[in-house]
Symmetry: C2
């Protein structure tokens, strides 16, 4: 989640939360220099790497959800494209070389102001290796997927779609939302 | 583009640009409290509203590209979904009621750290009205699209795909990149 904004990052004066002229939402506005500090949702981008009939998952070595299984994915960086982000995260977390295929899921997670994008991907070889944020990597048949130990709901949703679509032989784009907590 | 970060927005102490432990890129790190201030790409989300054979475009009343034509779109806000953002921007800029259809283009603009998403949309009635950021609104046949006065490259790319896809009768998702300037 976002940090607090108490002081202007440009000039260090205190900020106030108020609706700027012409705007509709409260923003952090500097009381001295008038700069407006917007905050916007972040993109988490990753890949669903497949080798023959098996899906590559990795066990997280970091919080949140340390020890749970996930797909290689992470925050998109400034100055990269969504495809570059998916390839970079796959290289960093599981040391894998993949060929990206179509965008597969775009899932909004509004209560934490994130949008998660996952591309289907073809694993090009089995020379993968756990990066610093990964405990271990394994390839899973559908029957072996550890559903009770999946790290994030967007990953579980993506894996469920993939298993269902593979049975039908048709992989559409799935645009969905993780429901806000009650 | 992003503002400078000279001071910590939490505690107002000076920040330094350095690579935190376990990270690979320089970040703005507070010299006093140690908070790391990440910056990430922003999502711009909009709609391509269609009425019969015509596309709704609106003329911008604000910079950048004041006076040029565009699709209703804008920065996604925290705590909303991509679909909510597309509907909100369409309501704010052109006062139009639309039914969102499939996600149509996802275009990375890496040199300004943005990702632009456009949904195809069906205009539900002709009771649209220019919002504060809009000079005028019009419906365009393909032959009438003012190609030389389109505000943004991502909008022109989206309109070109739409015209070509409509001729073929097939609307796929287009995932593309605006090339970085030389």
């Amino acid at each position: 989640m976002d940090h607090d904004i108490n002081f202007c990052p440009i000039c260090a004066a205190p900020v106030s939360l108020r609706v700027p002229p012409g705007d509709t939402l409260p923003r952090h506005v500097c009381n001295a220099c008038g700069a407006i500090h917007y905050r916007n949702p972040r993109l988490v981008v990753g890949a669903l790497p497949v080798w023959e009939d098996r899906i590559l998952l990795c066990r997280r070595a970091i919080e949140p959800r340390l020890g749970c299984w996930t797909l290689p994915a992470g925050f998109m960086e400034n100055r990269e494209t969504v495809a570059e982000a998916a390839l970079r995260e796959t290289a960093e977390e599981v040391g894998a070389r993949v060929e990206l295929q179509a965008l597969y899921t775009m899932i909004s997670v509004p209560h934490i102001s994130q949008v998660h994008l996952v591309f289907r991907a073809r694993l090009l070889d089995l020379d993968y290796a756990a990066g610093e944020e990964t405990i271990e990597i394994a390839l899973f048949d559908e029957a072996a997927i550890p559903w009770d130990e999946i790290a994030f709901r967007t990953v579980a949703m993506t894996l469920r779609h993939f298993c269902a679509d593979r049975r039908r032989g048709v992989y559409g784009l799935h645009v969905e939302t993780v429901p806000r907590p009650e």
